[in-house]
């Protein structure tokens, strides 16, 4: 059953060096308040799994600026000059992944699959050190599952059962990551007393462990 906590209380679920998934795409659908609480602590050396490192003053981007990220497994860093600077200065390790493969690797972990086979990245640097598997005379790369210790995601709507629904283009990685982490923390803009309609629920509440209470939730 989902528990309600404050953003400050969420910090206790993190440890140095953990693998952390954070939802969002650039400036859209980003959890904020848990990240702001992490920034107040000495926590460090996270391995970040996310679509991108956003911009320096937003969500994931702030963690990079504060040197909290040891390694980032992402599809894009170009919108955050500080990530690029740290990468060039070898202060951060960057593992660039094709975006669709990144999404499928997260899903594979959440869905109990041993990996996925994709043609994306064949004959490129992405294929280095990866197995090629041939199915019906077509080559595919074997991409392995990506799992996290903690996932922090945004939702537009939640109910007290932890069910989630989304407005606009905020679904992005927020929908997938709750399947693929041991501890799942959600920052929802609207938490309703009445259950969300089963017809409209995108992420079932069984994937969610903690909901940040709205009054402590800076997410907008």
């Amino acid at each position: 059953m989902v528990k309600f906590i404050t953003a400050a209380e969420a910090v206790k679920f993190f440890k140095d060096g953990q693998t952390v998934m954070i939802g969002g795409f650039l400036n859209c659908g980003n959890p904020q308040s848990v990240i702001d609480e992490i920034l107040k602590t000495d926590l460090k050396d996270f391995i970040l799994i996310a679509n991108d490192t956003a911009v320096p003053d937003d969500s994931r981007g702030k963690l990079v600026v504060a040197h909290k990220i040891k390694k980032a497994i992402v599809s894009h860093i170009g919108t955050n000059p500080e990530t690029v600077r740290q990468y060039n200065a070898k202060e951060i390790e960057i593992d660039l992944q094709p975006q669709g493969s990144l999404a499928e690797r997260i899903r594979a972990a959440g869905a109990g699959l041993g990996g996925i086979l994709t043609p994306v990245g064949l004959n490129t640097l992405v294929a280095e050190n990866k197995k090629i598997i041939t199915v019906d005379d077509k080559d595919y790369l074997l991409e392995t599952p990506l799992k996290a210790d903690v996932a922090v995601v945004y939702a537009t709507y939640a109910d007290k059962f932890g069910n989630l629904a989304f407005h606009g283009s905020t679904k992005n990685f927020n929908v997938l990551m709750p399947m693929a982490a041991d501890v799942v923390i959600v920052e929802a803009e609207n938490i309703s007393e009445t259950p969300l309609s089963p017809d409209n629920i995108v992420v079932p509440g069984i994937f969610v462990d903690y909901l940040i209470m709205k009054e402590n939730n800076g997410t907008d």
């Binding site: 795409f25 650039l26 400036n27 859209c28 659908g29 679509n51 991108d52 992402v74 599809s75 894009h76 860093i77 170009g78 919108t79 690029v84 990468y87 960057i94 660039l96 094709p98 975006q99 669709g100 493969s101 999404a103 499928e104 899903r107 994709t118 043609p119 994306v120 990245g121 064949l122 004959n123 490129t124 640097l125 992405v126 537009t156 989304f166 407005h167 606009g168 283009s169 905020t170 679904k171 992005n172 990685f173 927020n174 929908v175 997938l176 995108v202």
Partner: protein, 216 residues
């Protein structure tokens, strides 16, 4: 004649728009490829897909319809046309990889005579990441590269890409302000010469082997 950057981009965007057929599902890269939308004829209705999970991307938002939770892949606020929808990243990429996109238009750092594309990394200098580019190019029915013919005078259409590849042997067409090329069976074919260029000009700026088979 020397074209300004803006003039060159408009020529390219106008020519790209002619490739769209009514009903096509289209994905456009950030920047120049996206400009093609402005030149789609009124009787041609395309469905624009954005990798962050929007199908049916419409006009940019204005003061009457701001919503920061509806963006395109470049992070800009957009509207959604009638019939459009929002999907998660898995579904967005299934559309691309699974062969559900008719035309993909992207920019390039380099394209070569065999249809190889490099557009995500200059080792040691510029590594923004591939984002969705590698996935975008794999499943599409038609991959068009829309770009200025040269970068600060340096050729971008080359015999063999020297930069890290985005995809091998996949580009179908290259549209620049000077020319339109098709790539068939790993052979580069010059199909159109822009009114602002000439065969000599194209040869001078294209260090790749190509045949000439102009559209009448």
């Amino acid at each position: 004649m020397e074209l300004t950057k803006e003039q060159a981009q408009e020529i390219i965007a106008r020519r790209v728009a002619k490739e769209f057929n009514d009903g096509d599902v289209v994905t456009l890269g950030i920047g120049l490829p996206t400009k093609a939308i402005s030149y789609v004829p009124e009787d041609v209705h395309i469905i624009v897909q954005s990798e962050n999970g929007v199908l049916g991307v419409g006009a940019y938002q204005d003061d009457s319809n701001r919503d920061k939770h509806i963006i395109n892949a470049g992070g800009f606020g957009v509207t959604v046309n009638d019939g459009g929808c929002f999907v998660d990243s898995l579904t967005a990429f299934a559309m691309m990889r699974g062969g559900h996109i008719d035309i993909t238009v992207l920019g390039a750092l380099q394209v070569d005579a065999e249809g190889n594309l490099a557009n995500w990394c200059i080792p040691g200098k510029f590594t923004p990441g591939m984002g969705g580019a590698m996935d975008l190019v794999v499943g599409t029915k038609c991959l068009i590269i829309a770009m200025e013919h040269t970068a600060k005078g340096a050729p971008k259409i080359v015999q063999k890409c020297t930069l890290p590849l985005t995809v091998a042997h996949k580009v179908n067409m290259i549209i620049t302000e000077k020319a339109v090329f098709e790539i068939k069976n790993r052979q580069l074919i010059l199909r159109e010469i822009s009114p602002y260029s000439s065969l000599d000009d194209i040869r001078e700026n294209t260090p790749a082997d190509f045949s000439v088979d102009l559209v009448k």
